[in-house]
Symmetry: D2
C-alpha cells in the first residue's frame, strides 16, 4: 500500500484556559497567512471558563518558507495575547520514534512493519532492548539496534544513562513495546519527549503483573489492552486508547495471552499513529483529548 | 436518568463549496455576537476547492433574545458573502418527530422509551400506523396514535394524503420504524422534512426483502443494520449509521431476526439521536458527514 | 416477531468431576430412551481429572410422558454410578423470573418487552420494587407489581422477609434490574434460586459506587457492564456476560451513563436469556461455563 | 510467547446425515479405545433427519501407537454402520500450509509471524508469488520462496501447472494471501486440498474489484473482510469468518484501505487458525460450521 496522501501541510494544536473568541482569532491569523483549513476539531470542557483544545489541519503551499512568519505570529497572539500553548507540526516531517523492547517481538515488529508499509508517519532511528533476541529481525528491516543490558538490582541509573545518551536529541517519541523494565522518575523527567506504554489489560482492571492469569481466575468474558502516556505513577498515566476482545471459559491463560497480544498490537499501533498525526492532547487532569 | 445537561445553547451548521477563510469569518461573526464556542468540528473534502462542512456548538445566554440579530448576520455573511448554506438550532427546543410504524413494536417502543427517559432531545407528537397493534402501548406512553390503513393496490395516494395532512407543519423529522410500506416519490417530495429509515441489513448487502433468510442461506458470520435518509431510490439513500452483530451456524432465521432486531434498535436510535443533535449533514454525493 | 421455534424438547446439564467415558454413558442412556441429540457441548477443564461440563439438547416427542423414567435412569447412572450432578429442563416450560427493581425503568422495561416479544423463554410472575415509579408501566404490561418499601437503617430483615414470602415457591430465578439495595447473606441463602445482577461497570474495574463518574475521572476510552450471579461477596460473583461501548473525552458523566445504560440492557438481557435457555453452568471456581 | 500447550492428543470430526444414537456410538467407540473426551461440540441442523456435525478433542496418551486400531474401528462403525464421513487429526502434527501471495506483504507477513510465534499450529513449507517483492522477507524468516511469474493472457495453465507441481503432496492447505490471480476450475479441482481466500470486503457487499473505493462512494460507516474457502464461483465459497471496522466521512480511500488491511489480517489469521485446529466443517449448503 502506498503511503496515505498528505491532505494537509501542517497541523496546529492550541490548548489552555478557555475564553471567548479563541477560535476566531486563531483562524483569522491562519487566514491572514494564506492557510486554508482542511479540518478543525475544537472542544471546551465547559460552556464557559473551562479547558480549551483545538486541532487544525491546514493547507499552506510552501509551508517551509512561510513557517517562521506564522510561528512568530502564533507566539505573539496565541501565547502572548490569549495565554495559550501552541505547537505547529510539518506533516511532511515524520516523527522520529525510538522503540524500547524486551525479548518479545509482538508489538515491536508490528510497529516496524506498519512503519515500512507507510501506515504511520514516523521513522524509527533506533530500537533499544535489554535482550538481543530481536536484533536480527530489527536489522533485517534496516533499522539500527542497540543492546543495553539491564543491570541487576534496584539501581537502574547506569543503563538508563546509556539509553538517555542514545535518545537525547535524536527522537520525538519513545514507545515501550512491552519493555518490561520500570523507568525511574528521573529518566522520565530527563528524556524530554513523550513516552507511550502498552499495558496488557483493560485499565484500571488488573493493574500490575500477570493480568491474563488473573483475568482467567476472575472468569472474565473480555480481555483488553490500554495504551497510555508514561508518568511517574506506573500504569496510571493518561489513557490514549483501549480495546477488548471476547474470550470464554475454553480459553487457557496461554490463549488469553494470544488473544490479548492481538489487541495489544491494535491498541498500541493506533495510539502511536494518532500521536504521530498530532491528534492527542494531554489535559491537566491525567487524561487525553483525541481528535 | 435525568436528561443530559445542555452544554450549548445553540448549534450552527454551515456547509457548501469550500474557500479560504470560512471558519475565521464564521467564528468572528459568532464572537461579535458574544457567543463562546463550546465545540467545533470542521471538515473539507479536499485540501482546496472541495466541499466544506462545519458544526459549531455555542454558549450564548439569552439566545432567544439574540437569535434574530445573529440570523440576520448569518444571512448576510454566510449566505450572501460566502455563498454557503447555514442552519441554526436552539438546543432548548427538541425536534418534533413523527414515527411511522407497522404492526411491529420493535424499534418503535425503543424510541419512545428513550424519548421518555430524556435520552433523545425530541418530542413525539404522533405515531401513525397502518395497523392498530401498537395503539395501546403508544397511548399508554401518553402519545397520540393515528391509524391510517393501507389501501390495497399500487395507488397509495389516498392514505399518503391522509398521512401528509397529519404531518404537515407539525413535525421536523419522520422516522420509519420498520414501516413496511414503500413511500411514493411525491410523498417524499411533499413532506418537506427529512425521513430516516432503518434497513434490517448491512447495506449494500441483502438489499430488499428477506435479508435474514438470505443471510442464513449465504452462511454469513455477521448480520447488521443500516439507518439512512430516505430518497426516491429505495434503500439507496445516504447512510447515517451502521452496526453488526456476530452470528453462527447455530442461529436459525428466527434467531438471526432476534439478534438483528437488537442491532436495528441500536442503529436507529443512534441515527435519530445524532439527527436531533444536529450532528448529521448530507453531502451532495449521497452520503453523510456525522460530527 | 414470533417466538423462536423450539428445536429441542429438553435440555440436560451434567457436571462434576471428570472421568473417562462420561459422554458415552450419558448419550447411550439418552439413546436408550429414544432421544435424538440436537446439539451437544462438552468441556473438560483438564485433559484428565479436571471438571466436566456437558449440555445436551434433545429431541424426544412426548417428553412429558417419558420424563420420569428418564429421570430415574439419570439418577441411577449419572448421579449414582458417575457421581455427577444433573438437571433436566423441559423447554416447553418457561422459567419463572421475578424482577427486583428500584426507581429506574432502564433494564426492567427492556426485560419485560423482550419477554412479551417472546425473545426470552420466561414468564414474569412479579416485579418487586422499593419504589412505585415503575408500577404503572409494569401493570400496563399485565404483570403483577408489588411495592416493598426499604426500611431505613442497616436491618433489612423486615423487608427482606416480605420479599422472600412473595418469592418462595413462585420463581425459578431472581433478576436484580438495577435494584440498589444490598441483599443480606441470609436472604441469598434462603431464596433458594439463582440471582442475577447487572453491574454498571466492566468488572473488576470500578467496583462499587459511582462507576461512570470514576470512569470519567480516569479518562477511559471504553465503559462496560457485567452480569453476574449474586454471592455473599458483593460484585464478586461468577461472571456470566460482559460487554463494552466506546466513549471519548466529549462524553460527560451523563453521556457515559446513557451509553452505559445501553450496554447494561444488552448484557443483562443476554445473561437472562442464556440462563433461561440452560446455557450457563457455575463452576467450583467462582466462574461460569457458558455453552 | 510460548506455544499454546496441547490439551488434546487428537481431534475427530464426524459429519453426514443425522440419525439417532450417533453421539452415543461414536463416544462409546472412543471410550473403548481408552480416549478421554476433553471437549465435544455437536450440532444437528434439524430436530430429526437433518445434517449432523461433531467435533471431539480427545486425550489419548500414545496416540501414534493406538491410531491405526482406532481408525479401523472408525471406518467400520462411523463409515460402515452409520454412513458418515470422519477424519482424525493428530494435534502434534501441524498442518502444512502453502501461501500464495502477490506483491503485497500485508496478510502474508502477518501469517508468517504468527507461525513463528507458535500462534497457529502450522508449518509453512513454501511461499509462492508471481512477484519477487516479498522474497527477501520470506527467506529471512527461514521459509522457502518460489517465484512463478504470471503468464499474460487468459491461459493460466502453464503457471498453474508449475504451482501445482510445487504443491502436490507437500501441503495440507493453500492460503491465498491477497493473491490477485483468479484460479482456474481445473486448478481448484486438481490441487486436492482446501484453499482459503481473504476477500477485502464484508461479503456479499462489494463483490469483486475495488471494494474500498466503492465503499467510499456508497458512504458506508463500516468496512469489513471475509475469509472463505475457494470454490469455482469467485467470492462465493463457504464463509469461515468475517469482521468489520468502523470508518467515517473523514477516511479517504487510502485510509479505508489501511483500516481494511487490519481487519483482513485479523480475519484471515483466525480462519487459518481455526482450520488448522480442525474447527471448520463444510456443509452441503455452501456454508460452514465453526466449532
Amino acid at each position: 500500500m502506498a503511503a496515505e496522501p498528505i491532505r494537509a501541510d501542517a497541523v496546529l494544536i492550541v490548548h489552555g484556559t478557555d475564553r471567548e473568541g479563541i477560535v476566531s482569532k486563531v483562524t483569522a491569523l491562519l487566514a491572514a497567512h494564506g492557510a486554508n483549513i482542511v479540518a478543525l476539531d475544537q472542544y471546551s470542557s465547559d460552556a464557559a471558563g473551562g479547558d480549551f483544545y483545538q486541532r487544525t489541519e491546514i493547507h499552506l503551499p510552501d509551508f517551509a518558507a512561510k513557517r517562521s512568519a506564522l510561528e512568530a505570529d502564533l507566539d505573539r497572539v496565541v501565547k502572548g495575547e490569549l495565554g495559550l500553548q501552541w505547537r505547529l507540526s510539518d506533516t511532511s516531517v515524520p516523527k522520529r520514534v525510538a522503540i524500547l523492547a524486551s525479548a518479545s517481538d509482538n508489538t515491536l515488529l508490528d510497529l516496524l512493519w506498519r512503519q515500512r508499509r507507510g501506515e504511520i508517519p514516523m521513522t524509527v532511528p533506533m530500537v533499544i532492548s535489554n535482550h538481543t533476541t530481536v536484533a536480527d529481525d530489527v536489522r533485517h528491516l534496516g533499522i539500527p539496534f542497540f543492546h543495553v543490558p539491564s543491570v541487576p538490582g534496584p539501581d537502574k541509573s547506569a543503563s538508563e544513562q546509556e539509553i538517555l545518551k542514545l535518545l537525547k536529541g535524536n527522537v520525538d517519541l519513545v514507545v515501550l513495546a512491552r519493555y518490561m523494565q520500570i523507568l525511574s522518575d528521573s529518566f522520565i523527567a530527563e528524556v524530554g519527549v513523550p513516552i507511550i506504554n502498552i499495558h496488557h489489560s483493560f485499565l484500571p482492571a488488573f493493574i500490575g503483573a500477570g493480568p491474563y492469569r488473573r483475568a482467567k481466575e476472575r472468569g472474565v468474558k473480555l480481555v483488553g489492552a490500554t495504551a497510555h502516556y508514561v508518568t511517574a505513577d506506573l500504569d496510571e498515566g493518561p489513557i490514549i486508547e483501549q480495546d477488548i476482545v471476547r474470550v470464554s471459559h475454553k480459553d487457557t491463560v496461554e490463549e488469553l495471552t494470544r488473544k490479548g497480544a492481538d489487541v495489544e498490537r491494535q491498541v498500541l499501533s493506533r495510539a502511536v499513529l494518532w500521536h504521530c498525526q498530532d491528534r492527542v492532547i494531554r489535559t491537566p487532569h491525567n487524561s487525553t483529548v483525541v481528535f
